[in-house]
């Protein structure tokens, strides 16, 4: 069994018109056993920048702390808010520093930069950044999500539409991914607010 599916968990992000959506499931398990049902894999880094960490959640915790440490240091030193592009480069370097003996977690960054342009990216465990303009998915449900998102994503979605597309994508994924589930949260990041929605999913 791959270490990446030991605890389970899925994160997806989609980009729209001056908005991004990032969603994760809530399950954390120990292989087939569900341990907790309130584990968000999406974390706030700054107002308009969120990071998702899928994979082995013990490592995800460590990596999150390292990310926050570096981000805080950056903001103190530079005296400005971190941009999602900068954050992803930072995480990529952090991950690549552990090229040999990596943290078993795939990071995902979603956010708006200071011109409110959406930015999403995902990485593998050693920090290979891929930042398409449509959607990214990581975790145990990656295969399921990529197939669904391919049909549900469209150009220039407004926040409402983007939320529905993201929510329906992750719901479709949870239908088939045994290692994720037990509820989902969807963060819709727009230029003046963040909307956090807990959505109804199958609970198994």
């Amino acid at each position: 069994m791959s270490i990446m599916s030991y605890t389970g968990g899925t994160v997806v992000a989609m980009a729209g018109d001056e908005c991004v959506c990032i969603a994760s499931d809530l399950r954390i398990g120990e292989q087939m056993t569900t341990v907790a049902t309130d584990q968000k894999k999406v974390h706030k880094v700054s107002d308009k920048v969120y990071v998702g960490l899928a994979g082995f959640q013990s490592d995800a915790r460590t990596v999150l702390e390292k990310i926050m440490f570096r981000k805080n240091l950056y903001e103190l030193r530079e005296n400005r808010r971190i941009k999602p592009q900068v954050l992803s480069e930072m995480i990529s370097n952090l991950a690549y520093q552990h090229r040999f003996g990596s943290y078993f977690t795939e990071p995902l960054v979603a956010g708006l930069d200071d011109t409110n342009k959406p930015y999403i990216c995902c990485m593998d465990t050693i920090g290979c950044v891929s930042s398409p303009r449509d959607f990214v998915a990581i975790g145990t449900g990656q295969h399921y999500l990529l197939g669904v998102c391919e049909n549900y994503w469209r150009e220039n979605m407004k926040p409402d539409e983007l939320f529905e597309a993201t929510a329906q994508s992750i719901l479709s994924c949870l239908e088939r991914d045994a290692a994720s589930g037990w509820g989902a949260v969807v963060y819709t990041i727009t230029k003046d607010k963040v909307n956090v929605a807990t959505i109804k999913t199958r609970m198994d």
């Binding site: 292989q31 087939m32 056993t33 295969h143 399921y144 999500l145 990529l146 197939g147 669904v148 391919e150 049909n151 329906q168 719901l171 479709s172 994924c173 239908e175 088939r176 109804k200 199958r202």
Partner: protein, 258 residues
């Protein structure tokens, strides 16, 4: 590992921790990079996977089967761009298989000859329900050296309804509304869950009925989506449409070729 009470779980966890510490000691004493790199011997493998995906949807009076036509070696090299993965066995039975192409051919041959014998014995075509059971037994017959295939059998049953039967390699049979198998199965199935099963939509939300036109469109779109993201799916969609009381229609539609 399944644990039924807390005691087992904690004892198990202790054991695991213990063996992890043991492993840490062993690895620290002799890390991989200090020993000469071990040579991985390639054992002969009786199976290979030729990639590609297939999918079937059933409705009130129709069944639609589709597959891509790419055949791949080692997930990388394209062997052919027009492989036949769908076999029309008779006027109401369609077999579609993905997996090891040698077994796909053999399985088809076995089924064809059994169907031929049935016609010879009973002077009638076999029905899809019967054939489904036959296929299941043929697969289970090879329990310990299985046909390495994900088979889907579709067709119009005795009552004129669409039928889709899905199998695992050793003959576990299930009658479903829709099914997919092959490399892009994880990409197609959740999409159909959402669009045909409507399991993700809220109760009050409008859910379009599954007409034949809609099913065909969904089928095409799911392959188009899969071809974008799955490397061994592409080239062409082979679409086979069976409608009750009508002859089977076959179509080929283009997919991306890279």
């Amino acid at each position: 590992m399944a644990c039924f009470n807390g005691i087992t779980a904690s004892a198990d966890a202790t054991n695991q921790m213990h063996s992890f510490k043991q492993a840490m000691r062993e690895v620290s004493a002799k890390p991989d990079w200090l020993s000469a790199r071990h040579i991985e011997r390639q054992r002969w493998n009786p199976y290979s996977m030729e990639g590609g995906s297939t999918c079937a949807i059933s409705g009130d009076n129709f069944a639609i089967v589709a597959s891509d036509t790419r055949m791949t070696a080692n997930d990388i090299n394209i062997l052919t761009r027009d492989a036949e993965k769908i076999q029309v066995l008779n006027d109401s039975i369609i077999l579609t298989t993905s997996g090891f192409y040698g077994d796909v051919l053999q399985l088809t041959k076995v089924l064809q000859s059994r169907l031929h014998k049935y016609r010879f014995d009973y002077r009638a075509d076999m029905s899809v329900d019967l054939c489904a059971e036959l296929l299941s037994r043929n697969l289970y017959y090879r329990r310990f050296f299985p046909y390495y295939t994900g088979a889907i059998l579709a067709g119009i049953d005795e009552h004129g309804k669409g039928a889709v039967f899905s199998y695992d390699p050793i003959g576990c049979i299930e009658r479903l509304g829709y099914s997919a198998s092959g490399a892009a199965e994880p990409m197609i199935i959740p999409f159909l869950d959402c669009q045909i099963g409507h399991v993700t939509l809220d109760e009050g939300y409008e859910k379009p009925a599954l007409t034949m036109e809609r099913a065909i469109s969904l089928m095409k779109d799911s392959f188009r989506g899969a071809a974008e993201r799955e490397i061994s799916t592409g080239d062409k969609i082979h679409l086979v449409i069976a409608e009750a009381g009508k002859p089977i229609v076959q179509k080929f539609l283009p997919l991306r070729e890279d």
